[in-house]
Assembly symmetry: C2
Homo-oligomer: 201 residues x 2
């Protein structure tokens, strides 16, 4: 990289700070933009400015929005009595693309992870407990990923919710065999989960 | 993506136009920048502006530069009698990191590829032939990748150079077994090349 102009090195360094972009790919992208795609570079720069200036978190659920309240919380047709708790807005996109869920969301922005120094105060949890205090909310679905951190965050949230409401249903998304999964390759825990939660056929 | 603010969708679209960045990764990057890394987004936007405004191609060799002439062409210590022809500036970086070559470069910005509609006029070739007319140039090394397009571009360049100079040496980088290569897995063509070019031990 020593023989490249400093502008390209700085751009490459900035790209390499992005998730899943290594130093080889970032150098490739920086050179591509500098040599073959200056129009795309301009467009990227403009889009980044727009995001920096206009995007914030929804005052209710923590989802990304360019208003005070996100399009889902502002939608009268969504069922405000069910709140699905998720880790980030990418989960929301994928759940929405299934076109099954009609309730609203609460985006934590992370999960409790002592090993990474993330405690209950570092995620968007206080506002969830506030929301749950409203008797309009009848069910909280915990939609966190089934791993160590997701599981312990679920336990913590359940405890907190029970502390403010005793007439609310707290559920968790079912664990089992994913569509297209192959029993030959599934983890033991997935098989145990799918056995325990088996349903009448 | 339908439930994301338009600013994030536009940023994600722009990222997905980059080489080796698919739609899942681009959405992830756009959300990451919007939610957790606005400082990085600002830095990226600034770096992109800098590249758009300050980077151009070297008037002599076609390498990227923030001056009229790139740092290698401007370096008095480089041997101007040897010109190494390469496809793009990324090749240059890797060759420079080997700290072996002391001559200068000529960056074509591509190779002749009829299937992709890239002809001799679409690459930086005319200026190479002009450079070669200068009797100071004693050797042209063809440093293009050994594949169909690289090979045919080499043949074409050799023909063009022979047309303007009969007292110049045109060479090509040696083909053979790469360091760390394993005879068990090498392609037949690599084995044939390494046999034909074998040297006394």
């Amino acid at each position: 990289m020593a023989n490249l102009p400093k502008e390209i090195i700085e751009l490459s360094d900035a790209f390499s700070s992005l998730p899943n972009v290594g130093p080889k790919l970032s150098a490739r992208i920086a050179l591509y933009l500098a040599v073959s795609a200056k129009d795309l570079a301009k467009k990227l720069s403009f889009s980044l400015e727009e995001v920096v200036n206009n995007i914030s978190k929804c005052n209710i659920c923590g989802n990304v929005t360019n208003e005070d309240i996100c399009s889902i919380c502002a939608d009268d047709k969504r069922d405000k009595s069910i709140v699905l708790v998720i880790e980030d807005s990418l989960d929301l996109i994928n759940i929405e693309s299934a076109k099954e869920y009609k309730g609203v969301y609460h985006v934590l922005g992370g999960v409790i992870s002592p090993i990474n120094g993330i405690g209950p105060d570092d995620i968007n949890m206080t506002s969830l407990i506030k929301r749950v205090e409203d008797p309009m909310v009848k069910e909280v679905i915990l939609g966190l990923n089934p791993n160590l951190e997701g599981d312990s965050t679920c336990l913590y949230l359940k405890d907190q919710i029970d502390g403010v409401r005793d007439d609310i249903s707290v559920t968790r998304l079912a664990k089992g065999i994913p569509v297209g999964g192959d029993l030959e390759y599934l983890s033991s825990q997935t098989i145990i989960d799918s056995m325990k939660s088996r349903i009448n056929f």
